[in-house]
């Protein structure tokens, strides 16, 4: 896997990485500092906190964790006057199938994340931040802990930082295996030592978050954009990529491509360019049957739908999907989409926290019915049954996991109904079709 740009550049957007530069040993604090690291934080400390927030707001940075919510706006939700403690949670749970970008930041540029965390805390007047990292990333947790110890050692984190009034402690909190803990309120419950159950909203975290105190939750990649904005200014940043969803974005390409990996690029790059110019095209020059553009929860797109679709919020929405985590899963013309969808259904069934009946029961039913298709035992009415179950989960649960389980089903049936019908026909004729994945 590569975290750098491929060498082939013909027809590909020219780009110098900002989040994952190719600088060797950038994970070491000395190297980071000698390449201008922590200068953005120092610059921020000379500004008023609200000026920092304003800079992020004007930059139009939108969250990279899936929802594309404007980051600066989210920061303004934090109360300025409060007698309570305030917290920042940095979401590094990274468990959405097809997503493997934050891991690159932990490994190759951990200080960018620490610097971003410090700036965010300064902007919102937060003295304590928790970086929540999934337990499976034990190796990367150790890397982050080393980087954090170095940052403490250099006096960038801790009490009265760089001789200023601002104090900030950053702690790493290790998860223990639960997709749902990437949901912001489940993440907070997990830090509190609870099961990872999402909370009913409102109240929203900015009013009632960790231990009932005002809390902001931002994704690892989102926070890593902050030093870049402060260093270069919002005007410079907002000109990168798609105007309404600007900045660098880490696109993780997996599945049927010659060069899978995480590629940093400006937002707004056409999907087909990402697949062919960045990720080296499809093995055997096969056609593309389908693409899941932004992690498993985003709606699948047909291969013949991809022309002109770009990796930014507006373009993806117009195409009937979403940027999500920019985890692009490519499936060639020989892919068994029923098998893919059945596996995804099993995932959501396994990961449903079990609080809400529609999700707890519905995800299991979806998986069971899909297994009938997988085994060529489905009836024609099972297609509508799947749709019915999905529609009854969507919007009827505390958190978005229910929606995330429903959307892939709905989109797959809408866009590939023939694949389902074929299974029924074959089931009835008793001649299973052999398809490779």
């Amino acid at each position: 896997m590569t975290s750098q740009n491929p060498t082939e550049t013909s027809g590909k957007t020219q780009w110098d990485n900002l989040i994952l530069p190719s600088t060797p040993n950038l994970h070491k604090v000395e190297t980071y500092i000698s390449h201008g690291g922590y200068e953005a934080f120092k610059k921020a400390l000379e500004m008023k906190p609200e000026e920092v927030t304003d800079e992020v707001k004007k930059s139009n940075l939108r969250g990279r964790g899936g929802a594309c919510f404007p980051t600066g706006l989210k920061w303004t939700f934090m109360p300025k006057q409060t007698t309570k403690a305030k917290y920042l949670c940095v979401n590094g749970d990274e468990s959405e199938p097809g997503t493997f970008k934050d891991r690159q930041i932990f490994e190759f540029n951990p200080h960018l994340l620490i610097e971003g965390t410090l700036i965010a805390c300064y902007a919102m007047g937060i003295p304590t931040a928790y970086i929540y990292i999934r337990g499976e990333y034990a190796k990367w947790i150790k890397m982050m802990e080393l980087a954090l110890a170095d940052a403490y050692g250099k006096g960038f984190v801790g009490e009265k930082i760089l001789g200023k009034e601002f104090s900030c402690n950053i702690y790493i909190h290790k998860g223990a295996g639960a997709y749902i803990c990437g949901e912001e309120s489940a993440l907070m419950n997990s830090i509190e030592g609870e099961r990872g159950y999402p909370r009913v909203k409102p109240p929203f975290p900015a009013q009632y978050g960790l231990w009932g105190c005002p809390t902001t939750i931002n994704n690892v990649e989102t926070i890593s954009n902050v030093p870049i904005i402060i260093k270069n200014g919002w005007e410079w940043y907002s000109k990168i990529g798609a105007p309404k969803h600007p900045g660098p974005i880490l696109v993780g390409v997996s599945g049927h491509v010659n060069k899978p990996g995480v590629y940093e690029m400006p937002t707004g790059i056409p999907i087909l360019e990402i697949i062919h110019r960045w990720a080296g095209g499809v093995p055997g020059d096969k056609g593309i049957k389908a693409v899941i553009p932004g992690g498993s929860s985003t709606m699948v797109l047909r291969g013949d739908q991809l022309e002109g679709v770009k990796m930014d919020a507006d373009s993806m929405k117009a195409a009937g999907s979403a940027v999500g985590t920019a985890g692009l899963i490519v499936m060639d013309e020989d892919t068994d989409l029923i098998k893919v969808l059945t596996r995804l259904a099993k995932f959501y069934y396994h990961e449903s926290c079990g609080q809400c009946t529609p999700c707890r029961e519905g995800t299991g039913w979806l998986w069971k019915v899909l297994k009938r298709f997988e085994k060529h035992e489905a009836r024609m009415q099972d297609i509508d049954l799947l749709m019915d179950i999905a529609n009854n989960i969507e919007g009827n649960t505390i958190c978005a996991l229910g929606d995330a389980a429903a959307w892939p089903i709905q989109a797959m049936i809408r866009r590939f109904r023939d694949e389902f019908e074929k299974r029924v026909v074959h089931a009835q004729a008793g001649t299973p079709e052999s398809v490779a994945v």
Binding site: P97, A176, G255, P260, V330, R343
Partner: protein, 155 residues
């Protein structure tokens, strides 16, 4: 139950959180790393030192997939079978492992050396197929690579 160094670590960690309940996950991690799994007695112990109920601890241990309330084999092999790995041929890796070890998902070998588990996406989609053993990721797997890994770990 906790050894001296973990006890010290616990006291350090207490400063990081306003409640002792927040230490449930960190302490369960310590116990599991120390003992290999989290027994009923261990859960009662954790409940006592953190001043939360045993039921709460049991609830947490059974909720998170990485906590184990029963001992596993010396090497816990977790193979990702989610979509990105599936598209890159994880089925062959699973089949190969099952043949080599004589166990299927959810089983531990009779000599207690190996436990095989199916894992959800572990964030190695760009280097699929993959498996994880303890804290280590083994990526871009082929059956040959699997053989090498097993050979290296075989005591």
């Amino acid at each position: 139950m906790l050894n001296e160094s973990n006890k010290q670590k616990l006291e350090e960690l207490r400063k990081r959180y306003p409640t002792s309940q927040a230490l449930v996950l960190p302490v369960l991690w310590m116990v599991q790393e120390q003992e290999g799994y989290i027994s009923e007695d261990a859960m009662k112990y954790v409940a006592a030192i953190l001043n939360v109920s045993y039921g709460h601890i049991l609830g947490v241990v059974t909720f998170y997939t990485m906590f184990h309330s029963k001992p596993l084999g010396s090497h816990h092999i977790e193979v990702c079978t989610n979509v990105s790995c599936m598209l890159r041929g994880c089925d062959k890796i699973v089949e190969h492992l099952e043949n080599k070890l004589g166990i299927t998902f959810g089983e531990t070998s009779k000599d207690k050396k190996w436990t095989l588990s199916e894992a959800e996406c572990l964030g190695s989609c760009g280097t699929a197929p993959m498996l994880a053993i303890a804290d280590e990721y083994y990526e871009s797997l082929t059956p040959q690579k699997v053989d090498e890994i097993l050979e290296r770990l075989r005591p």
